[in-house]
């Protein structure tokens, strides 16, 4: 079967067969006032030569800065083999293989991916991926509402230590479906959920509690106690986790007595380059009891008529191409190409390699924190352990300091004032295994000079 578009003759034959004059006529039922017509603000098309030149010029403007920003996307070394394999023609598709008989290679890869993600998160089942970590949190919230049949409130508790973009995206995805996201306050001393923040919810009907570990500030929440608190009250637990960190930290499946119910996160650290925010991919794993409420594709291993092992999409009756409006989700897909890269990355790393990446990132962040807090006017904002990010207070407004650093080829971190104005002049920094001692010294020296200049100004 050839995958080629219809010819003009094909289209005309089909229209004639159903007695319709034009394709446009098929859309007649959409009222004119709901139709966009021409796209405003979209420039005319360019030739391949023109677009190639434009993009090369834009790329030059980006330069190759030394990056100390994390905040949800992390620069890790990607072995050359990852994208050499992921971009092979056999794998080079962004989409889901519905046709099992023609897609065994891709299906096996997705199955291996699911196996690795389930193992990494300590959960029973994984789907074949989602758009990104933020939309996965929206999907996990909707899934929790379907799965928690003892709760009718559709109230989801979300600590303000969860990534601000995730909170915003989850509200955009699920807010119009009757879900209510209620924010839990955090401790200004520890940068994690305020002890006692949950007390006022005792005895109330709550559907789910979201816990990010490590949280947006890179800090470790008391996941065992939080998880047990929720389960004692029939509240489901949605874990938001960094996959690299799971090589060192307790996986969500082992949180508390029972383990989290759903685990989601951003898969980008697993072999996907930083590229202006995407494309990345989200992952989602869950306990087996919730599998039928899980959105998206799931690949299963089975046997064919002759008893030979093979792979196929499974539990599809929950899905949009069969269940239409009542599907578990109509706004998700898997990210085939990026998941291919992640699967190759995890295969190359193995548990030991991922652990070395995680440990090196943690060590580099400690080194960075030590170096930067020796700079006059810089101190740690919170006390307590971190994974590979640290929030710093600096004695000058952050934005101009970051601009000065950028002029020196350094992306110095995230200005926290946009999302957390109460923290004052605060900066979130990150170092992974990609940063050397020389890089860290270079940053510390540049920051010293930038702050000195800011004070003199």
């Amino acid at each position: 079967m050839a995958f080629i578009p219809h010819t003009r003759e094909d289209v005309e034959a089909m229209l004639a067969a159903i007695g319709v004059g034009s394709i446009e006529q098929l859309f007649d039922e959409i009222p004119a006032n709901l139709r966009l017509g021409a796209l405003a603000g979209v420039p005319e098309s360019l030739s391949e030569m023109e677009i190639g030149r434009l993009m090369a010029e834009r790329a030059r403007l980006d330069g190759r800065p030394l990056c100390f920003i994390g905040a949800g996307a992390y620069e890790h070394h990607i072995p050359a083999a990852v994208w050499a394999i992921a971009t092979r023609g056999e794998f080079y598709s962004a989409y889901t293989p519905y046709q099992a008989e023609a897609s065994q290679g891709t299906l096996q890869l997705l199955y291996e991916y699911q196996t690795m993600m389930a193992s990494l998160t300590g959960m029973d089942v994984s789907n074949a991926s989602m758009y990104d970590g933020a939309s996965a949190m929206g999907e996990a919230s909707l899934m929790a509402v379907r799965a928690n049949r003892k709760s009718h409130s559709h109230r989801i508790l979300v600590p303000s230590t969860v990534h601000p973009h995730y909170r915003k995206t989850a509200a955009a995805v699920a807010g119009n479906q009757g879900l209510v996201f209620e924010e839990l306050p955090y401790s200004m001393e520890e940068g994690r959920i305020l002890p006692g923040a949950l007390d006022r919810y005792d005895g109330q009907d709550i559907t789910a509690l979201v816990i990010q570990q490590p949280n947006f500030f890179g800090r470790l929440e008391d996941v065992d106690a939080l998880c047990d608190w929720a389960h004692a009250r029939n509240i489901l637990v949605v874990a938001v986790v960094n996959p690299t960190s799971l090589a060192l930290l307790k996986p969500p499946g082992a949180w508390g007595t029972k383990g989290a119910d759903i685990a989601i996160g951003e898969g980008q650290p697993l072999g996907v380059p930083l590229s202006s925010g995407g494309p990345y991919f989200g992952f989602m794993t869950a306990r087996m009891e919730h599998v039928r409420q899980m959105p998206g594709r799931i690949v299963g291993r089975t046997v064919d008529a002759a008893g030979r092992a093979g792979f196929t999409l499974t539990l599809q009756a929950r899905e949009q191409h069969i269940r239409r409006a009542k599907a578990t989700s109509n706004i998700c897909t898997n990210q085939g190409l990026l998941v291919t890269a992640a699967t190759v990355y995890l295969s190359l790393m193995g548990p030991g390699g991922l652990e070395r990446v995680a440990a090196a990132s943690h060590a580099r962040t400690r080194e960075l924190t030590d170096a930067l807090t020796k700079v006059p006017g810089v101190r740690r904002l919170f006390r307590g352990p971190v994974f590979h990010e640290e929030a710093l207070a600096i004695d000058r407004p952050v934005a101009p300091v970051l601009e000065s650093l950028a002029a020196r080829g350094i992306v110095g971190g995230l200005d926290l004032s946009e999302h957390y104005p109460e923290l004052g002049q605060a900066l979130l920094v990150c170092a992974t295994e990609t940063k050397t001692t020389a890089d860290i010294e270079h940053y510390a020296n540049a920051l010293t000079e930038c702050l000195r200049a800011a004070r003199a100004a």
């Binding site: 049949r149 003892k150 039928r292 009756a317 929950r318 069969i322 269940r323 009542k326």
Partner: protein, 129 residues
Amino acid sequence: MSNVPSDLKYTKSHEWVRALPDGTVEVGITDHAQHALGDLVFVEVPEARRKLAAGEPFAVVESVKAASDVYSPIAGEVTEGNPALAAQPEVINSDAYGQGWLMRLRPSGAVPALMTAAEYQKLVAEEGG
């Protein structure tokens, strides 16, 4: 020809209703419906004490072909969802009118007019069953 017991009432959406001596009713899907769905692999039944409006979805039946909602023919409060179906959804295929019941419900208010076995038989025949 489908199996349509004469002592039950029926709906257009292929549910059956049995009046029980204690004033509650038992609800399930018809033999015609289970046959159309094929082998059932998963059934989600309602929790006790859930209040239902007439026509509200109360259960999901998932077969190898499709997942479908089942609609409550009558308004009322669920007294029991069939606990046996979680482990053995296939009893709906083998015994749709007996062990394959989905829920028991205490009706509230007026019970709407439902189809007789003869009327349902006619509906199924018209649908090609």
